[in-house]
């Protein structure tokens, strides 16, 4: 990378040599990666971290993060990388103990962007109360820039996090426990993350006040489980949205699910954005929403616990599990009609019709 390009873009960038294992890499780790994450378990910077005796069963999970753009209203890839993994542990009924952080950086990535993402990882990890205890960094060659394009800014930054959690004693969660009569709860308005990201994506930009809902849900879920409510299944409604979670439950248990659209929380700004792009809020991604299946007797206790937490103020019961066959997810619409809710095919793309 020539100095001319660097100066034209005002600021220092990731070099291929930053991944070479030498002095540059050492400095990158020391000056840019470790300070935002500072904690005792990470401090030795060994090949791995030694954790205290967990005294219980462990849960492990991993997830990779490749969102574009890297920064969007309400969050960035760093925040996602923490909340995504923390939430995967939390919905398993596990208290997060430690995270690992794998960074893949593209040559040319501005160090200011890396610094912002690292600060976000540090802040979100602190918010979730879980340390990043070990990590790894690689640098890849700058990818092919669009031919003839003037896009000099490389924006490649990919993250993998793994999370280790301690299973809460006495909690048994799984679709195998779901049965007709159970209630479906969600902790707040849907579809905000996916639409916030789309609102700043190249070619699709639109003016909007939307913000991603990305947030660690572990303390919220703790609060519900602490009540002793008979929670049977939890799942964060990420890619594929609420629809994906409900169809999963329906298919795996061969039960039907009836959802009342009037109860499904969607903020007006979200609904407008979804209409604009022709998307169905039920299939749009969330990063701070959990679908909770509880036994009908536990609905009021669980809802009260949700609403007692800042991330669950707008928690509602949106529907119930039924024994109707064949197993389908059905939406009773606001208009008084009914329709089948399907899993989206893949990436949801804006429509014209």
């Amino acid at each position: 990378m020539s100095g001319r390009v660097e100066s034209r873009n005002g600021g220092r960038r990731v070099l291929l040599a930053h991944g070479g294992g030498g002095e540059l890499m050492h400095r990158l780790i020391r000056d840019h990666l470790v300070p935002p994450l500072d904690n005792e378990l990470l401090a030795p910077l060994s090949d791995g971290a030694v954790l205290p005796d967990p005294k219980g069963r462990l849960v492990i999970t991993t997830d990779s993060y490749v969102v574009t753009p890297l920064e969007f209203p309400g969050g960035d890839i760093g925040r996602l990388a923490v909340v995504g993994t923390v939430n995967d542990l939390a919905v398993m009924g596990a208290a997060p103990v430690a995270l690992s952080l794998g960074l893949i950086l593209e040559e040319g990535l501005p160090l200011t962007v890396l610094d912002r993402v690292m600060a976000s990882i540090g802040a979100t990890a602190e918010e979730a109360g879980v340390p990043v205890v070990t990590g790894d960094t690689k640098v890849i060659e700058r990818r092919r820039v669009e031919e003839g394009g003037n896009r000099l800014a490389a924006d490649g930054l990919f993250i993998n996090t793994a999370g280790l959690g301690r299973l809460r004693p006495g909690v048994r969660l799984g679709t195998d426990r779901v049965k007709p009569g159970d209630a479906i709860l969600v902790n707040g308005p849907l579809a905000e993350h996916g639409l916030a990201v789309l609102s700043v994506r190249d070619g699709l930009e639109f003016e909007s006040a939307l913000r991603s809902d990305a947030a660690p849900l572990n303390s919220l879920i703790d609060r519900v489980l602490d009540t002793g409510a008979d929670v049977k299944f939890l799942r964060d409604a990420t890619r594929g949205g609420l629809a994906n979670v409900l169809v999963d439950i329906s298919e795996s248990r061969e039960v039907s699910i009836e959802v009342d659209e009037r109860q499904v929380p969607v903020a007006p700004a979200t609904r407008h954005a979804a209409d604009l792009l022709g998307l169905d809020p039920l299939t749009v991604a969330n990063e701070g929403k959990v679908v909770c299946v509880v036994c009908s007797e536990s609905v009021s206790v669980a809802l009260a616990a949700f609403r007692d937490h800042p991330l669950g103020r707008q928690a509602v019961c949106i529907g119930c599990v039924t024994g109707a066959q064949p197993p389908l997810v059905e939406l009773r619409t606001r208009a008084g009609g009914r329709r089948i809710v399907q899993r989206p095919y893949g990436e949801e793309l804006p429509r014209i019709c």
Binding site: E147, G148, D280, A335, R339, C353
Partner: protein
Amino acid sequence: MNSGIPALRAELDERCERIGRRVTFMEVCGTHTMSVFRSGIRAMLPKNLRLVSGPGCPVCVTPRGYIDAACDIAGRDGVMAATFGDMMRVPGRSGSLETLRSAGARIRVVSSARAALQLAREHPGCDVVFLAVGFETTAPGTAASVLEADRDGVDNFSVLMSQKLIVPAMLALLETADPQAPELDGFLCPGHVSVIIGADAYKPIVQRHAKPCVVAGFEPEQILRGLAHLAGQVAAGAAALENVYSGVVSLQGNRVAQKLVDQVFVVVDAAWRQLGVIPLSGQLLAPPYRRFDATRRFAVAISEDDDDPECRCGYVIQGKVEPRECPRFGAECTPDSPVGPCMVSSEGTCAAWYKYGRNLPDPSARGTQEVGL
């Protein structure tokens, strides 16, 4: 908010009962189809009312030859294609834009022609081709971007035209000699398109064919109101043009947009998937703007009769056949590898049938008629 719905339903029920026979209305436009699907309106309709989806979904009527031309151009070195998202999965003869992108072609999803023009400005060394599909609603945007490219000399921008006009297609449906064509009792006319062309554009349908036309909005209540008005006309033996979206749609439409479109486009015969060539139903660039025509720039022809002869999507979207009557359905044509556009979107009639219809001997038994047309 929907307090009017029970009253409208009662009105629709009463009128359909008064008609006393099977009555078939067509919702012409894809946005109506989507709204009907999402709001579950089909499950609320009287038993003798059949609502069929019309040719107003741009994806569904774009011929395979167009997709092939788009893929041909998009796969070339130095080209970046810009498309609306719902075109990505529509299959051509050798794959879709989605499969082409995975093989390395530069294909960007955009939400407007303007965004495509912006890509051209940002990538001066690249030929940016906008896939200009859609009806009267997208035409003004396409026209404006061509004018802007002309004014600013953005020479690396071009459009692959498949802009279509809705009224000629509605007339063609009524004038078809096809014995399988369903007898239509009236049209629910598209709100957004009508904002541009004006409600008066449907007069020929009323005058020549004595078919009721009602322009309606897209909220469930507005759709039900439109259907109730259509049923009211049929029950009274009338055929008139009504506009129940009058706060938004005027009789004359948007003159500024019409002028823009008239300046940049000329009206030509156009090929529709499965419907064949319909006279004066499409638009191409007018002579002063032909340098922005992608078929010229890349010397590509869009073949007109290149649809899979076995695919019955055209009949499905006209309500002539059920998906299971198509020889491709469930065999070569599945949601994972769609042959026709009705299998492409999860709301497509064939996709819904594939997923649910085959397991549902009597969908109405559960109040769910959404699986059929």
